[in-house]
């Protein structure tokens, strides 16, 4: 009896210590972003702030196009998410339930592409965007991501679990394929679409490498690129860098706290991505 209780204490202790380690960097980020310089660079470091200031945030939004970057990120992530929901569910329906020559072949090619490391596409992707004259534009950030294979895969898997009888019944009632997609399939795959929406938005919001190579102009930067600029050019102003980090992480953190269960469950669905 005694032994069990002891192990329980150790277990909770270890988990709590680990959890503190997970939270500490975020706490330090928030704290440092509102510290005035004389409290930021002290030894020993202080775990509280006596004279909080929003100076770093004001600098962030005035010295850099932070507001514009937020707008860019929201726009790009939303556009990509909406189009993935539409195109991936349409294609997923076709691959799961419709009969047409080449279906399995095309699908296998899509599946295979999930195994190819992303850096293989980086250079030709850049060259294609450059040839199209899309560097430094929304087109570069949005068009290549409109229908990602991962979403098609996810939708197809989910739609395959819908009984054929439902579809046949709708067909007998004279429903067109588009009608079946809209009235039968879409309402039934809402949970899958929710997962897809969350993960697509998250991936686009946090995406760094692609914007890094196709965007150079000041006004087209997405939020992670602002952090990169802060890191390179404002390397000594840690309050401002922490303010920037908070602006990038906070929206995703809030979405996560609201949809935590979908996120954690969604991990299993997203593993095929890379």
């Amino acid at each position: 009896m005694k032994r069990i209780r002891w192990s329980r204490v150790v277990i909770v202790g270890v988990l709590t210590l680990g959890a503190l380690g997970m939270i500490l960097p975020y706490y330090w980020m928030v704290l440092s972003s509102i510290k005035p310089p004389e409290e930021l660079y002290t030894y020993p470091p202080r775990f509280v702030v006596f004279h909080p200031t929003l100076k770093a945030y004001i600098e962030l939004f005035t010295l850099l196009p932070m507001a514009r970057a937020l707008l860019n990120s929201v726009f790009v992530a939303s556009a990509v998410t909406v189009s993935n929901l539409l195109f991936c569910s349409l294609a997923g329906y076709a691959f799961a339930k419709l009969r047409f020559p080449g279906r399995d072949g095309i699908f296998l090619v899509l599946l295979f592409s999930l195994m190819i490391p992303w850096q293989v596409n980086l250079i030709p992707g850049f060259v294609i965007i450059k040839q199209l004259g899309w560097l430094n534009s929304f087109w570069a950030l949005i068009i290549p991501k409109l229908a990602l294979p991962f979403g098609i895969f996810l939708c197809r898997q989910y739609i395959m679990s819908i009984p054929d009888a439902l579809i046949e019944a709708a067909r007998i009632d004279g429903c067109t394929e588009l009608g079946i997609y809209r009235r039968v399939i879409l309402p039934l795959i809402v949970p899958a679409l929710a997962t897809l929406a969350i993960f697509t938005f998250l991936a686009q919001w946090n995406d760094f490498v692609w914007p890094l190579i196709v965007i150079q102009s000041r006004d087209m930067r997405t939020v992670p690129l602002i952090i990169q600029v802060l890191n390179g050019q404002f390397g000594a102003n840690f309050a401002m860098i922490m303010a920037g980090a908070l602006v990038v992480t906070l929206p995703m953190l809030l979405i996560f706290l609201v949809f935590q269960r979908q996120f954690i469950r969604g991990v299993f669905l997203t593993t095929v991505r890379e």
Partner: protein
């Protein structure tokens, strides 16, 4: 995870008297056209470019295997990047997976409060790697302002110049990655552990096994399939590390590799060659060598999962 990859059976495809729906092509058209332009074409273009000299401004010039030959026989920086990346993988994967496994096993012992811990450990997975890397950069800051050096001093150790010393930059990148990947790996282990029959644990308890013995003799062997899956996935992902390395070595005025290229990873080197020096053919060759490695790792993955 696996086992779901089932194609519809032949019988399914043939039902309904072989009629097929041409409208299906309209449904898949947007996705397939985009896929062809932005995935299929680049895969072949990249292969072609890897046999050329290409600086974007002039048309690519065929050079045969010379990019590959230079990379493999006459480019110490490539090998430096390769060694760094392999060390990084060999550090991050075993340590990261072990910690995640132990924490998940501990978590599954709890009767209440599991979700709170899961949420806390999972947070780094949803926040931008670039953002958490700059936060860690501040934690790692040299001299005495950084929190980590403060803790080291409190423990009676010497402070470390993490980001500017050749021997510590790679461990710093590893620490960030291990920290950031814990929650993600834990989710898999938690799910795996919850499927282990509780009778096994009860039998072990009856035999007088303590927590650690139960972990080592029941949890670990029963989790073998999950363990293999997580390890291989981590190896493939870690092999392609870039964001953390780029940010932690950035802003030091030392280029993408940091001091003496000590933080140079394969993708960092690819990025530098392709997008800073505009040696796109050379960078494509790096990409294809990496593709070969990742492909090999994926085959190992599939074989291991099948032999389960």
């Amino acid at each position: 995870m696996n086992g779901k990859l089932k194609l519809p059976s032949k019988a399914d495809a043939g039902r309904g008297g072989g009629t097929w729906q041409p409208v299906a092509y309209l449904f898949i058209a947007p996705a397939v056209i985009l896929f062809a332009i932005f995935v299929v074409v680049p895969i072949f273009a990249s292969l072609y470019l890897s046999f050329t000299k290409y600086d974007v401004l002039h048309p690519p010039r065929w050079v045969g295997l010379s990019n590959f030959i230079t990379l493999l026989t006459n480019d110490p920086r490539f090998w430096k990047a390769f060694r760094n990346t392999v060390s990084y993988v060999l550090g991050v994967v075993p340590i990261g997976v072990s910690i995640a496994l132990v924490l998940a096993a501990a978590l599954e012992e709890l009767t209440r409060g599991k979700q709170i811990f899961k949420v806390l450990y999972f947070i780094p997975t949803v926040t931008s790697v670039v953002a958490i890397s700059v936060v860690w950069k501040w934690l790692f800051a040299g001299e005495k302002y950084g929190l980590i050096n403060y803790f080291l001093i409190q423990l009676g150790l010497q402070p470390i110049d993490w980001l500017l010393s050749p021997q510590w930059i790679l461990p710093a990148i590893m620490i960030v990655s291990i920290w950031a990947g814990l929650g993600y790996n834990m989710v898999f282990f938690s799910a795996g552990i919850s499927t282990i029959p509780s009778t096994l644990y009860e039998a072990a308890k009856v035999d007088g096994a303590g927590w650690w013995e139960r972990f080592w003799h029941v949890t670990v062997p029963m989790l073998r399939p999950t363990l293999i899956f997580v390890v291989v996935m981590s190896v493939i992902n870690s092999f392609q590390v870039f964001d953390q390395a780029y940010i932690l070595t950035g802003g030091t005025g030392e280029g993408v590799g940091g001091v003496l290229d000590s933080g140079l990873t394969l993708v960092s080197y690819l990025y530098e060659q392709g997008f800073q020096h505009f040696r796109m053919g050379y960078a494509s060759a790096i990409a294809y060598l990496m593709f070969g490695c990742v492909f090999g790792l994926t085959l190992v993955n599939l074989r291991m999962l099948r032999s389960r």
